[in-house]
């Protein structure tokens, strides 16, 4: 019985090596006492503590540079596609210019990332002219678009999910893909695919017609999860025009209480953004 208690204390003692001691002074004395009496626990303590300490020697892996670039591209796309149309003034309170004053550097980074992708897919790469980088970037985008569109038409939901995933990784989201994603939100039989498509479309929320389509989609959804995701989406766009759709949606008699409450809160939030 005491041994069970001791195991807990031994585990607590390991935390000292990680910097956060978790043994009460009284327990420490009690544990020492038990270890002096119980050979089994004493041996376990010695053996496992040694292993715990040696674990520190395992090297710490690092993420690749591409990860950071991808994150920056995602943040950028939230505020509007690179080179895209101006965002509606009330769309986002924050300014991307403030986030990345050194945008040319970032752009070069993206070009480099595309180059790496190009190499990875087995293409030969020679020279370093800017036009070649641009061409390569275009090619990668086109390939991904094609793959995304064909996957979105697949029978199996997991394939369609991959299609959505693909489109989410495209450097920019093409009109045809946007259309396919909106179709998925409205018609896909899988809730997961619908959710993922809403996610992917957040990159295109700078486009008014996308926002309108998703407003309309809200009224057609039966799944509370998808309803919640769409409400979240509409709040994030901060588009006042969504208020009408949200108000109408709140009146639906078949809503779950939590969804109705969420829709009410969303209406409130959108009103406050005015």
């Amino acid at each position: 019985m005491m041994c069970g208690w001791a195991k807990e204390q031994i585990a607590a003692s390991w935390m000292y090596t990680s910097g956060s001691g978790e043994l009460e002074p009284g327990d420490q004395a009690k544990l020492r006492h038990h270890l002096a009496e119980c050979a089994e626990c004493a041996e376990e303590m010695a053996q496992l503590t040694g292993m715990w300490e040696r674990l520190a020697d395992l090297p710490a892996p690092e993420p690749g540079l591409g990860l950071q670039l991808r994150w920056e591209a995602t943040l950028e796309s939230l505020g509007g596609a690179p080179g895209g149309k101006r965002r509606t003034p009330e769309a986002w309170r924050f300014s991307l210019a403030a986030l990345w004053p050194q945008r040319p550097v970032w752009q070069a980074g993206i070009a480099l990332a595309c180059l790496v992708v190009g190499l990875a897919v087995g293409g030969r790469w020679q020279g370093s002219a800017k036009s070649e980088i641009a061409a390569l970037r275009e090619e990668v985008a086109n390939t991904k678009e094609m793959v995304a569109l064909s996957l979105l038409r697949e029978q199996s939901p997991s394939e369609r999910l991959r299609g959505v995933d693909y489109s989410a990784r495209m450097p920019r989201i093409e009109p045809e893909v946007v259309t396919a994603l909106i179709r998925a939100v409205n018609q896909d039989t899988s809730v997961n695919v619908r959710l993922a498509a809403i996610d992917a479309l957040s990159r295109a929320s700078g486009q008014p017609q996308v926002r309108r389509s998703l407003e309309q989609a809200l009224d057609r959804q039966e799944s509370p999860t998808v309803q919640a995701a769409l409400i979240g989406y509409l709040v994030e766009t901060r588009d006042q025009q969504a208020l009408g759709a949200l108000r109408q949606f709140s009146k639906r008699p078949d809503l779950e209480a939590t969804i109705r409450e969420r829709a009410g809160r969303a209406t409130q939030q959108l009103t406050e953004f005015k």
């Binding site: 496992l48 986002w92 309170r93 997991s158 957040s202």
Partner: protein
Amino acid sequence: MHSDHELMVAVSRGDIQAMSELYQRRHRSVFRFFFRLTGRQAVSEDLVHDVFVRMLRYRQTYNAGDSFDAWMYRIARNALADQARKHRLETPAEAHAIETVESDRPDPFDMYAKQQDLALLHRAIRELPDDKRELIVLSRFQGLSYEQIGQIVGAETGTVKVRVFRAMKEMSGIYAGLLREKAL
């Protein structure tokens, strides 16, 4: 200097710049969490990206009363579970088993092949069942207290201590087995 929690509260109120700061602070440690669990570089990077996108997406669900670490790791675990589910749907179980052992890049641990003890230790972690490996990663490598781990995995602090102890014990058994194998 703001705490992670303060930054996340700011994010939940619409300050996306705070998210940028959180990413800089935390993405490496989230990456290591995934890498130590999956052993795969590209998969871990995808997961890190997914986690921070989800944090943005669900930022309004962040409560001022939450512990940031617990919230972040819960999102990370969900992302991993979703990824595993998707992966299982796509690949037959056997192919999956092989794939998880292989890395997308040369395994960084190979460089330590000379330090055979470390290589064995690494193998022992890899051979642990997922839930036990996760407990060791959270407690030994991610700098979390048992209380925080309890919040993440949904268990009492005492239960977490006992489970970590058992996971270490099992790993020690695997390690001893590998040592014997090598000696033969």
